[in-house]
């Protein structure tokens, strides 16, 4: 966003989605105002009904908080700095509808009073950041956090990912809005009247900055604030965590109940693994040294390689490295079993069990370290 002492609002394509006036045509701006208006209307009605007299003080102060968060210049890994929008934490603490209004109010004041973002483009900025950003962040947070406990690290990760996704979806929408301008609006000589870059340039230009810088900033702020709230004000996370237990050790059984459908799905997939036997031959590039001497295998390699014959001798590097490690269960076929199908199933069960055990051990170690730290 730049410093506000020296006219902000023009750091597009680099780390901010605040669209100034002049980048979008008036008809595009009008259409985006019309697109944002129903969300504002529904949000205001729902909040008036829900909050009644608390609406004015809560929205005012939280919109002010969103505004100030947008001004934080965050040092990021890699030596860069970035600005968060605050849409992630707003959705998580207030819910999507209040976040839509709070962020829209912050954007209005930024645009009109501080000149960060255009007045005609306010509808576009609100639709991208306040509406799409809030809804995507909220849905992602709820989907990833599930019914995990309020103090669970999963909620921290969910918050970070939610913020990251929300900001990037907003950036993508802005990029599309820019990218269609040259197609739709040009003068008699063919010169674009507004944003001059087509989608093939606008999308990568916007997304590179947001996937690497702005998105990371949002991830850091959202995850960091949720982690902070878990320690200091866990009650503020309750609004968007219905049914979640307060602490991890309170209800581990509930956590496992939630995972049961996934375990059932995993078991079904294990039973289906013998289907892999139907695919004859080796996957491309997964040859063993013996395949280079086997005529049938050589024919398969040639067919899969645009009829290029493989070398007659085994490549030296392949031969050397193939002796480094001998798998306990090579080709998913335990030596003590005659049935290949049962061998596949048993390998799948063993592999999945090993992964789950590793994840459980890592989770317990991380939990213990978090409690002691």
């Amino acid at each position: 966003m730049g410093t506000l002492a020296v006219s902000p609002c023009y750091d597009l394509y680099v780390g901010s989605m605040h669209i100034p006036d002049g980048y979008l045509s008036p008809s595009t701006c009008a259409a985006l105002y019309v697109g944002a208006a129903p969300f504002w209307y529904v949000a205001l009605r729902r909040l008036k009904r829900l909050l009644t007299t608390r609406l004015v003080p809560l929205l005012s102060v939280f919109a002010a908080f969103c505004f100030v968060v947008m001004m934080f210049n965050l040092p990021l890994p890699g030596g860069t700095t970035g600005h968060a929008v605050g849409v992630g934490i707003a959705s998580i603490v207030l819910g999507p509808w209040a976040s839509i209004l709070a962020v829209s109010i912050a954007l209005f004041i930024q645009a009109v009073f501080f000149g960060d973002g255009g007045i005609t483009a306010l509808g576009a900025n609100c639709l991208n950041m306040a509406v799409a950003g809030s809804l995507v962040s909220y849905l992602a947070y709820r989907a990833i956090s599930g019914r995990s406990p309020i103090d669970s690290p999963r909620r921290v990760l969910a918050a970070g990912v939610a913020g990251y996704l929300g900001v990037n979806v907003a950036a993508l929408l802005a990029a599309i809005e820019f990218g269609v301008q040259p197609m739709l609006f040009h003068d008699a000589s063919g010169a674009p009247l507004y944003a001059p870059y087509p989608l093939s340039i606008a999308i990568p230009a916007m997304m590179i900055g947001h996937l690497t810088i702005a998105g990371v900033a949002e991830f850091v702020v959202s995850a960091g604030l949720v982690a902070w709230l878990q320690r200091s004000h866990p009650s503020l996370l309750r609004g968007t965590a219905p049914g979640a237990p307060e602490a991890a050790n309170e209800n581990d059984a509930a956590g496992w109940r939630a995972v049961r459908p996934l375990l059932a799905g995993l078991a079904a997939l294990m039973l289906l693994t013998p289907i892999g036997i139907l695919a004859a031959g080796s996957a491309w590039g997964e040859w063993s040294p013996a395949d280079f001497a086997n005529p049938a295998a050589r024919r398969q390699i040639a067919t899969a390689s645009s009829n290029q014959n493989p070398p007659t001798r085994v490549p030296h590097g392949l031969e050397l490295l193939s002796t480094v490690w001998t798998a306990p269960i090579p080709a998913y076929a335990p030596r003590f079993l005659r049935s290949q199908s049962f061998g596949y199933f048993l390998s799948a069960a063993f592999g999945a069990g090993l992964i789950l055990l590793t994840a459980l051990v890592a989770d317990r170690l991380f939990e213990r370290r978090r409690r002691s730290g």
Partner: protein, 263 residues
């Protein structure tokens, strides 16, 4: 920190200029809001650079007669717009398809006529609209800008929320500055980036908890003063003949910009 101080400086400067005795300061805020918005739309809709130039010139003349210092316009609007939008528009000179009029030496990139026009459209539109928007805020007290939103049928509750939000922005900025100052005054040497991140997140976290506490306190204060959910805005604006004249002039100019700009 620099951004925080910049925001406070901007707020103070706006208050000073809005109280001065200039051309725009004497016009009804509703007329200014509608008129400047109309001119912004006119400049945005025009397909002719000359029309955009005339609107820009009109904005400069209004700024001159409203005692807006040239330094303010240069620092807050023109320099930033030219540098940033110019940087964005520069590749368009080479990337926009069209008839090449020149090739860059050494690299041989073609500069097209359409690319030059596209870049000029973008920069001139951004400069013009940003100048007009800034003039509105520099010549009008912020509370009057918000109240004049009622002329655009913005719901009263949103106008009240906007007003309160502005007040609490300044309060939270001061709080953030104090927190960062107190941390930095206890820090020797430079902060590592990871420490800087932790500081920023912790500051935001404390601000968040203060925000929630503040909202509760404000709510109780409003209730204790009789607030039961109804919001009102005191309407102190009265239109004069001169205001109607200005409104007609603004709207006619915007309409002319759109009509001439389309032909």
């Amino acid at each position: 920190m620099h951004g925080f101080f910049g925001a406070l400086e901007h707020a103070l400067e706006c208050e000073d200029l809005a109280r001065s005795d200039g051309l725009l300061q004497k016009i009804d805020p509703r007329v200014k809001l509608i008129g400047i918005l109309a001119l912004v739309v006119g400049a945005a809709a025009s397909r002719r650079l000359e029309v955009i130039g005339v609107v820009f010139a009109a904005g400069c003349v209004m700024a001159l007669f409203s005692h807006v210092p040239l330094r303010t316009l240069v620092l807050r609007v023109w320099a930033g717009a030219f540098v940033f939008t110019g940087a964005i528009a520069l590749p368009a000179i080479f990337l926009t398809p069209g008839a090449p009029i020149r090739h860059l030496p050494f690299v041989g990139w073609p500069v097209t006529f359409e690319g030059l026009r596209a870049a000029t459209y973008l920069v001139s539109r951004v400069e013009t609209t940003a100048t007009l928007s800034m003039l509105l805020v520099l010549s009008t007290p912020w509370t009057h800008v918000l109240k004049s939103l009622r002329a655009l049928r913005v719901p009263v509750v949103l106008v009240v929320i906007l007003g309160m939000t502005y007040r609490y922005i300044l309060l939270l900025i001061e709080t953030a500055i104090e927190m960062m100052d107190s941390r930095r005054s206890r820090t020797v040497g430079r902060l590592e980036p990871s420490e800087g991140r932790r500081l920023a997140v912790a500051t935001a976290g404390v601000l968040l908890s203060k925000t929630m506490q503040l909202s509760g306190d404000v709510y109780l204060a409003m209730q204790s003063r009789g607030f039961r959910g109804e919001v009102y805005v005191l309407d102190e604006f009265r239109m004069t003949a001169r205001d109607w004249g200005w409104l007609a002039l603004f709207l006619a100019s915007a309409a002319a910009a759109v009509w001439i700009g389309q032909h």
